[in-house]
Symmetry: C2
Subunit: 167 residues, 2 copies
């Protein structure tokens, strides 16, 4: 088990990447991890757009001021959810995103969760760039690459946030 | 890395538990994992209520028809989020919940995500049972115990849910 907690602590938000491509095998592994997430009633209301095209990544980098690193990452995952299929699409796609980030860390890749939801303007931009239809919501962008920065493992465990048998 | 994907696939929704207690050390490990999750602007808008009292667990079991296993689990984690502190509290607490579930699987414990949000009636019940103040939202309940059922590892990878360079 030690490994599991170690890997969870190893996952940090990495925003700088080398030019080395991310392999098809690694992309497949990250998608398998994402789709191993739980979902309410097992509805699996997610869809994933894998963006490697440099022009598209440059456009995704302009989604908002915190999405710039999409231009420099060899691949950007765009995590989407079918709002009409599940009232739990945000939680389900968030669990899938966390699995994707953990799989990236396990592969010694760097990644970061770039939030889009619930910013409707940012979402409209991503939708236009990638041709995502109305009704399919955009949760986040996840740029991934070989890391050009490193951060130490950590938890931010805070005993003040733990309550026993009542708040 | 193999380990990471294996552990992610090993996490299944386990709803039946033995009477064996869950150790304080295991509870701490699961909370460390939860609080190692990423959060928007690192605001960590989460709080966790750890419920071991049998009477309280029986009341949580009555939250809705899918929460009954709370009565039989030695411990139930209640994952909450400060809505006023972050517009991303649902995503952040969902990532924390997924980490908690993965840590449970890594410890050979069984657990399941019992959704509460966005059901306001269910949330009001949990709030009343545990004295959770208005403004602190309830994302989910996570009953955890030593498993009395087993399920094989799996991903639900579906290539139809993967799109390249556009939807």
């Amino acid at each position: 088990m030690g490994e599991m907690l170690d890997l969870i602590k190893k996952r940090r938000s990495i925003r700088r990447y080398t030019d080395e491509p991310v392999s098809d095998e690694a992309i497949r592994t990250m998608l398998e991890a994402a789709m191993a997430a739980p979902s309410a009633d097992n509805l699996q209301p997610w869809e994933f757009v894998v963006v490697r095209d440099a022009g598209l990544r440059r456009q995704l980098a302009q989604t908002h001021p915190w999405s710039r690193m999409c231009a420099g990452a060899p691949v950007v995952f765009v995590v989407c959810g079918h709002e009409s299929r599940s009232s739990h699409w945000v939680e389900d796609t968030s669990a899938a995103t966390e699995n994707l980030l953990l799989a990236a860390a396990g592969l010694d890749l760097g990644a970061v969760w770039v939030g889009v939801y619930p910013d409707r303007g940012a979402e409209a931009h991503v939708r236009k760039v990638l041709g995502i239809p109305e009704g399919l919501r955009v949760l986040c962008l996840v740029p991934v690459g070989h890391p050009a920065e490193s951060k130490p493992p950590r938890t931010q465990y805070d005993p003040r946030k733990v309550h026993y048998d009542g708040y």
